[in-house]
């Protein structure tokens, strides 16, 4: 029994003639010639001044963009000329495809102005070092000339010595920081989760190992053109962090099975080469100690990861 009864305001049997097309346009196939098209379009512009205004506005924006492009390329030549050679050298060593080559690209990726310091600061808790970031650091070093630094924050009282050298031996040649394309700074600090700070004025802190890893990985590759592949990669990153790192034994076992299934058909987890998915999954397999008891395919894949040369820091940390 309903609480209120209301009489209908309209009859339900009324027939409406609803339009099936929201905007009606002239059929372009029925038009005879391009000339006719142009004429009609021309006439429309005459008819609709707002269209003309829009076109003028767009022309103006394009003109400004061309001007900006010219200024930026001029600045690039002026500022980044020495770096071009360095990038070219590193390009030849690069294993990751479709890479971006110079500092300008890096500035575009980081969305910042030319000439500003590219210092990526990562705050991490020494009680749970983010191993995946060490791998990504190694990959960045292959791509760019990177000045690496490790500091201990006053909020922590002691850090194992291996964590103070996990980015390799310090560069002590006294070279200016300006000569490096990228500065990579790890601060061992009492933080609940990994943080990345870059341009504190323009961007907020990136939090969580997965998000920080994604940020760093984007500096290695052009934006993913294949959304399906990007989704697969993202999914593996989440799997690594939520099921391998934080999951129970049952969940971890399920991940190993899924890894085995994927690696039976493919050499790598997402795409034709070592990717962020492989980095996160391999690191967390090793960090949780599951790596010792994985199926043969997963084991072979872990070996491939090791052979990539980017996991040296991780292995040396885990051995200690």
């Amino acid at each position: 029994m309903s609480m209120y009864q209301i009489r209908p305001t309209s009859r339900s049997d009324v027939e409406f003639d609803l339009p099936i097309c929201m905007y009606k346009l002239a059929n372009i196939h029925s038009q005879q010639s391009r000339r006719a098209d142009d004429d009609e379009a021309h006439q429309n512009w005459q008819v609709y001044p707002e269209v003309k205004a829009l076109q003028n506005r767009q022309d103006e924006i394009m003109r400004q963009l061309y001007e900006l492009e010219a200024v930026v390329s001029g600045l690039t030549k002026m500022v980044n000329t020495p770096d071009v050679d360095l990038d070219a050298a590193s390009m030849s060593q690069a294993s990751v495809g479709s890479a971006l080559s110079n500092s300008l690209d890096l500035d575009q990726l980081l969305r910042q102005d030319c000439g500003t310091p590219r210092d990526i600061v990562i705050n991490a808790n020494p009680a749970q070092p983010p191993l995946s970031l060490l791998v990504l650091h190694s990959m960045l070093c292959q791509r760019y000339s990177v000045l690496s630094g490790i500091h201990m924050h006053s909020s922590v009282f002691a850090v194992p010595p291996e964590l103070l050298s996990c980015l390799g031996p310090p560069i002590i040649n006294g070279c200016s920081r300006q000569h490096f394309q990228l500065i990579f700074t790890i601060i061992w600090k009492d933080v609940p989760r990994v943080q990345l700070k870059f341009n504190t004025r323009r961007m907020c802190t990136v939090e969580g190992e997965g998000n920080v890893a994604r940020f760093l990985y984007r500096l290695l590759l052009a934006p993913a053109k294949d959304p399906a592949l990007a989704t697969v990669m993202d999914s593996w990153v989440d799997t690594a962090l939520f099921q391998l790192a934080e999951g129970c034994a049952k969940e971890q076992k399920a991940v190993v099975q899924a890894l085995n299934f994927t690696l039976t058909k493919n050499l790598w987890l997402a795409g034709p080469e070592l990717s962020l998915a492989d980095v996160l999954c391999a690191c967390w397999l090793m960090q949780t100690g599951i790596a010792a008891t994985v199926p043969i395919k997963v084991h072979k894949w872990l070996e491939s990861c090791e052979n990539s040369g980017h996991f040296c820091g991780v292995y040396s940390l885990l051995r200690k």
């Binding site: 500003t116 310091p117 600061v121 705050n123 924050h153 006053s154």
Partner: protein, 486 residues
């Protein structure tokens, strides 16, 4: 009741002035040692009367010794007469007394005292030194947190009153804590450098010529001629380096005749100066100095006694705990300029940093790196003194550095030009009269090792570490353009 009836008359009073008439076999217990473990013991204590409050047949006293205090009670009974209670109540605040009493545990903690678990039941009380009844400032007012007095209509003490009556102001728990911590800074500075192989040297403070360009010097009459008060021990540190001491430091007064009436300038301060040779790169020196600072900060952070002092100061002057990185963050000048420009500051590549820009930079660095201490390296050559070594790869810049605490400069240093010829050239470039600096240049004519150094101000370091806002708070008897006393 008449005087004759006073059964306790030999238990209190004002004895003759202590002129070392006799050496009593009596142990005086420190107030800080009056703990629950001493409950039931009868002992002697020498302390100041911090406050006294008479109530009927009893009188509550708070006895203070440095930063520690304890509640004491004189009550009419077997051991104390009514006259004795009245005598105790009438002792002026800040007088020094010797009291004998029994330590008693209390059921409720005494929140207002440092010794919260016990009180002293006084059986004898003698005045050792009586304070005048009218105090120029009340200690309770002098330790009241900033702003609290305004809200509750209570008095606070302004800075000039404090400094005019510094002896009393220094008795406050806050002042006690500040200067104990400052002593710690000095001690840690010495210990760290000594362990690094430095030699402490003493340099003259009366000199014949200005040792450094820029800052003005005080002239003093010197028999039939004039002399100056040293504005920096730099020349002497460098001469020690030329004399093969390798690593030297000195702690001593530095005089600056600058008419700067700011929160951070003094005309006389304690300079902690370092100079050392290096093998290949002046960064060896930068790292050594920065590490010395970090060891000081770590010492203050890790030692219990300093943590207590910091907490005491924070009660009156709340501040964020001092944060730092190890090894110290080193940024370069171009980065600082870029960061400031990103924040909307308009400045040229070779412009010097203004004080507001230094502070803004400090905030930007804190935001990103979460550190209150950092080194800014590679200053433009144009803004540094003539003896600064130019950068070998970019003539616009120099091998010089500043160190900052909470966005304020605490140390300025550089690789020094150790070649007499280049030094002459640089001096001429700065239009400096060569005759006036002849002795300085001559020091480098007989072989000088490459070296660098710098100096910090003890008062400024203490002020900034504690997050205080005026260097006069951390100078025991400050000297500024308007103050020459006490």
């Amino acid at each position: 009741m008449t005087d004759e009836d006073d059964f306790a008359e030999d238990r209190y009073g004002v004895p003759p002035m202590l002129q070392s008439q006799a050496r009593l076999d009596r142990v005086l217990v420190r107030v800080q040692d009056l703990t629950a473990e001493k409950a039931g013991q009868l002992l002697w204590v020498r302390a100041r009367i911090h406050t006294s409050r008479a109530k009927g047949k009893q009188c509550f006293l708070v006895l203070r010794q440095q930063q520690f205090n304890v509640q004491a009670l004189v009550a009419v009974g077997d051991r104390a007469s009514k006259q004795m209670v009245k005598f105790a109540a009438n002792i002026t605040k800040e007088s020094i007394v010797d009291v004998e009493g029994v330590v008693r545990k209390v059921e409720q903690k005494i929140e207002s005292c440092t010794q919260q678990d016990v009180e002293l039941h006084i059986e004898r009380i003698f005045v050792v030194s009586q304070a005048e009844p009218r105090l120029p400032l009340q200690l309770e007012d002098a330790v009241r947190p900033e702003g609290e007095g305004d809200e509750e209509g209570r008095a606070t003490v302004n800075q000039d009153t404090r400094l005019d009556n510094r002896v009393i102001d220094l008795r406050t728990t806050t002042s006690q804590a500040i200067f104990r911590l400052q002593s710690g800074v000095c001690q840690l500075f010495r210990d760290t450098l000594t362990s690094k192989g430095f030699v402490e040297i003493q340099t003259p403070k009366i000199i014949s010529a200005a040792s450094e360009g820029g800052a003005n010097v005080f002239t003093v009459s010197y028999f039939k001629t004039s002399a100056y008060l040293a504005q920096s021990p730099q020349l002497y540190k460098q001469m020690c380096i030329c004399a093969d001491f390798d690593k030297v430091f000195c702690v001593g007064p530095v005089f600056r005749a600058e008419d700067s009436n700011t929160h951070r300038h003094l005309t006389e301060f304690v300079g902690l100066d370092i100079e050392m040779t290096f093998n290949y790169h002046y960064h060896e020196v930068v790292e050594s100095i920065a590490d010395t600072m970090v060891q000081i900060f770590k010492g203050l952070r890790d030692r219990y006694e300093f943590q207590t002092e910091i907490q005491t100061v924070n009660k009156q002057y709340p501040s964020e705990p001092f944060k730092f990185l190890e090894p110290t963050l080193r940024l370069e000048y171009w980065e600082a300029v870029a960061m400031l420009r990103q924040a909307g500051v308009e400045m040229g590549d070779e412009d010097d940093l203004s004080t507001p820009n230094e502070k803004l930079l400090g905030r930007l660095v804190k935001e990103k790196y979460d550190t209150d201490f950092y080194v800014l390296d590679k200053y433009p050559l144009a803004v540094r003194p003539f003896y600064t070594m130019p950068d070998p790869s970019n003539p616009k810049y120099s091998n010089s550095y500043d160190m900052f605490m909470r966005g304020e400069e605490i140390l300025s240093g550089a690789q020094r030009v150790h070649d007499a010829e280049l030094l002459t050239e640089r001096a001429l470039h700065h239009n400096i009269d060569l005759e006036k600096i002849k002795a300085y240049i001559d020091s480098f004519r007989f072989g000088a090792p490459p070296h660098a150094g710098g100096g910090i101000g003890l008062e400024r370091v203490t002020m900034l570490y504690l997050g205080l806002h005026n260097v006069r708070q951390t100078s025991m008897f400050p000297r500024d353009p308007k103050r020459l006393t006490p």
